[in-house]
Symmetry: C2
Subunit: 566 residues, 2 copies
């Protein structure tokens, strides 16, 4: 995402240029430069760094001595831009043709006892980086990610506000608890026994905005979930939240496709994006967020098993893979066994197939999977057989990748998964697959009472290289249908009285979506973790190594909020 504006990076400051912008075009000019001391050499050369680049400053006279300035101190240099001697030109630096001859040097801030150096080849451990984030942020990659993130969000806003008339509305984060969904942080108040909850998303608000006539809403919204046990999650995160009235599933998909193409013109395939059904994803990749950058698509091999041998809901799938991978090692065999056990599915590895089922079976299988391929088979209940083989597929892909045998698409693969089921069977009855405000598919409404698990939802997930980066749905805009769904889910409608009233007051049909910004940035800029795209992240346990938060509070505070700890 290139920098498309002509900006004044030096307006309102006392520097004349950044460290990155000088070139031979400025030779002869007197400049004022500020930055961090990156490197000192021979008491003569000082490499000055800021967010925009690195610049060589040179002492010409003997009266400026900077040999005692600690690295990472901040200085201000007045000087004259000169061409470097030919043999000193550094073509790897954007400012490598020139240097600034120092006329005046002022130390603005002296660095003391840094916990680590700013050298890429000895990058400190993540814990130490997070503890001293104010230093870690000076690494060029961190600078670059934060700037690209800001650019990306600005491009999204321009698309929505300027091109399509969306209104950014800020909705509250201190609210009441939403039944169902993720665990929400609670916030005690001065009113004894009464708590706010921190919203897990603006879902209720954006739907109430639709009822309120704000027909094209978006927000880059802070959301909160107390789910710190899951890796690569943050207790607070950012989502692009969009909702539209008078639209349908196709409208939202097409809006997001245009948005992504506008935001990442180089990255994206031409819209429309590929759409696959949940059923297709399950039966071919064993996942509702399949990575389709590589093949390894399942084959259904149920027909190879005689009908009488089958259990109820029996199904069988094979994942084919290049035979060059060879025999699965004992260690990986154990991993596969564990996956099979978790899903209560029988799994047969390639070299056991002959022993288990004989030559006829093997040759029939080869006809299906291709003569040059090996395969692993999973057999059992339909859904589990798929999900189990999905995990095995990812393991096989990682083994192939290590051996350089995996054929992968170069470009980012973005697709929609649609036609999810509305409900899933939970321990205590029906549970929602997305959230309780998701509309059933109109063709399946007649099944709500007779066969609810067969009802599809008007829901859609956006999947990028095997990661779910967003999801949404057409919402229920009819209060009676909403009450029915809540009751089927065993949820207390009283807690959503205000919301149901909003549907009852003349609420247009509407649909929307939310994209996880942290994850999206992390995938697009290819970082190891979402923590790398967040200025001040917390650990996966929700701790802040920088400030030590969370921490104890005073007895007075507890009294004020009418709480005791136990």
């Amino acid at each position: 995402m290139e920098n498309c504006y002509s900006k004044h990076y030096n307006s309102f400051t006392y520097r004349s240029h950044t460290c990155g912008e000088l070139s031979s075009a400025q030779v002869g000019e007197y400049v004022t430069i500020c930055g961090w001391v990156q490197y000192l050499r021979l008491s003569k050369f000082l490499l000055l760094r800021d967010a925009y680049g690195v610049l060589q400053c040179t002492v010409s006279e003997e009266d400026i001595d900077f040999s005692n300035i600690p690295l990472e101190s901040v200085v201000k240099v007045d000087g004259k831009v000169s061409l470097r001697p030919k043999n000193a030109i550094n073509s790897e630096m954007s400012t490598g043709e020139i240097e600034v001859i120092i006329q005046r040097l002022e130390i603005l801030s002296t660095a003391e006892n840094l916990p680590f150096n700013l050298r890429n080849y000895q990058k400190p451990k993540e814990q130490l980086r997070m503890q001293h984030r104010y230093i870690d942020l000076r690494f060029p990659e961190m600078q670059s990610i934060l700037r690209l993130r800001s650019q990306m969000l600005h491009r999204m806003r321009r698309f929505l506000v300027e091109q399509h008339g969306f209104v950014e509305v800020e909705t509250p984060t201190l609210f009441c608890q939403t039944p169902g969904g993720a665990r929400e942080f609670v916030v005690p108040t001065h009113h004894a026994g009464l708590f706010y909850s921190l919203v897990q998303s603006p879902q209720q608000f954006k739907q109430m905005l639709m009822s309120g006539g704000v027909d094209r809403y978006f927000q880059i919204a802070r959301c909160y979930r107390d789910e710190t046990t899951r890796p690569d999650r943050q207790p607070e995160f950012t989502q692009l939240d969009v909702e539209m009235s008078f639209t349908d599933l196709g409208g939202v998909l097409s809006m997001i496709e245009s948005l992504l193409t506008h935001t990442f013109p180089k990255l994206m395939q031409e819209p429309p994006l590929k759409k696959i059904t949940y059923k297709h994803a399950l039966e071919h990749y064993g996942s509702d967020k399949p990575n389709v950058q590589y093949g390894l698509q399942f084959k259904n091999i149920k027909q190879l098993f005689p009908e009488k041998s089958r259990i109820p809901h029996f199904d069988a799938f094979a994942v084919p893979y290049p035979a060059e991978l060879g025999k699965i090692t004992a260690k990986n065999k154990d991993k596969i066994k564990e996956i099979a056990k978790k899903h209560k599915v029988k799994v047969i590895l390639d070299h056991d197939i002959h022993k288990e089922f004989g030559s006829d079976f093997e040759s029939n299988l080869k006809n299906i999977i291709g003569q040059q391929n090996s395969a692993i088979i999973s057999m059992g209940d339909y859904e589990n057989a798929c999900l189990c083989l999905g995990e095995i597929r990812e393991l096989i892909a990682s083994l192939l990748r290590t051996r350089n045998l995996l054929k992968t698409e170069e470009h980012t693969e973005v697709l929609w998964v649609v036609d999810f089921p509305l409900f899933t069977k939970g321990e205590k009855g029906l549970e929602t697959c997305h959230h309780p405000f998701t509309s059933p598919h109109p063709d399946d409404i007649h099944l709500l009472d007779s066969d609810p698990l067969k009802v599809r939802a008007l829901a859609y997930d956006l999947v990028m290289n095997g990661n779910e980066i967003g999801g949404g749905s057409v919402r229920i805009h009819n209060a009676r249908l909403q009450e029915k769904i809540l009751s089927m889910l065993g949820m207390d409608a009283e807690k959503l009285r205000h919301f149901l009233n909003a549907l009852r007051s003349g609420c247009p049909p509407h649909a929307g979506i939310a994209l996880g910004i942290d994850r999206l940035v992390s995938i697009v800029f290819n970082t190891d973790s979402i923590r790398d795209v967040i200025a001040f992240p917390k650990t996966h346990e929700g701790k802040d190594p920088l400030s030590g938060a969370p921490s104890t509070i005073s007895e007075q505070d507890k009294q004020y909020y009418h709480i005791r700890t136990c």
Copy 2:
């Protein structure tokens, strides 16, 4: 703030036009329109409303009967645009020349039992409006304010990102407690006895970003303060938060002036804005956020009192006002007496001056305040005499305004107040006037030990029509000076260890500001309360009439967070 983009308000929807955009240019076209039923007349005319306008739809044939559709139901109309008969043209409606002849009408959502009507002339009480905000938002003023607010923030972002290379960085809201400052909400965690605090501003983070080399930062940030006892405050609010490295007081002032001129080109005076010192504001208006739209400037009349009669720190001021106002009524006299009592200051009303001080005094006073003016005098300790008369000045102004005797500037008056004191004397010792990170004025640093109350701060407030809409300062970037100030304020430096380390690691000089967005929008769009510019506001007690938040939580939740209520 006009709408400056050519937008597609109908993209990704199944309507062809909004209710506001049709005119005689579309006559003959077939259109699809969606909206709320605003009004029905003679079973023949249906006024359809959406966020963009109102449109008349007309039945031509007898087979469409909409007489039973409740008002505020949502419908979809397919029809043909026609010119109205000449005698039916309504020049007050933007769509008043045309009507849509209905060919098909679909009810999308039926409104039931609305708690109030959408009629401006019988606008419901605020409590009811907040309780059913999803209906209240349909009033054209609310639609307009939310849209203008979104436009305003977008203009600010464009100025900062596109023209001046600022980076929007999202900083955490779950953090540790900041010593000093407002009361912060606490958030219990699953770790027994450990709490986050909700940040009252991104202050620490933005300063750490400066140390981290993000030299031009901004954020439209959600902030939290548990100060619900103060009227017209919200527990969560939005501020435009900006910070820059390598700048000074003048740099920040000039940046904000450019930003405001860019955002409100019609509203703003030409920069630079007027700058007055805190001392000047106190001595002439009795306030640190003076309303200078009208005159009524104080005159110092200390010289009229013989030296021997004076108490220590004695001072005397008069506020002149047009004699046409006449005698102050008994009720207002009581109000003035109360103000005087609160400030422990002696106040003399105009018609008591002669009785109290005699004719010579009176004629000397007239020479100072102007022969045609009356005056009220306050006498006492310098600061209290000013502050007391400041409150009286506002009362007098309101009395003059009621009688149409107040000469007021038509345009919005925006000015800077500078040269605040760094410290004020609190009950337990020195207290900070802004916050503990504010830099002392370099000319006054030598007074820190000897006469700290005389030290000025490099702080500035932005005042609009008598409201403080923002404030900021040059920050302390030297760890030792910061430690000294914390210690003078009796604050625990250990709680700011991470912050002090950031200053110690090579931190550039920096300065910044925060503008209160809710208040700014409220003043610019002239609403009664900041609640009118917030989509889903809370009452001044921090309650949400819509959802009933805050509310009780379950015993399981309390157990999970290791808290008990008491």
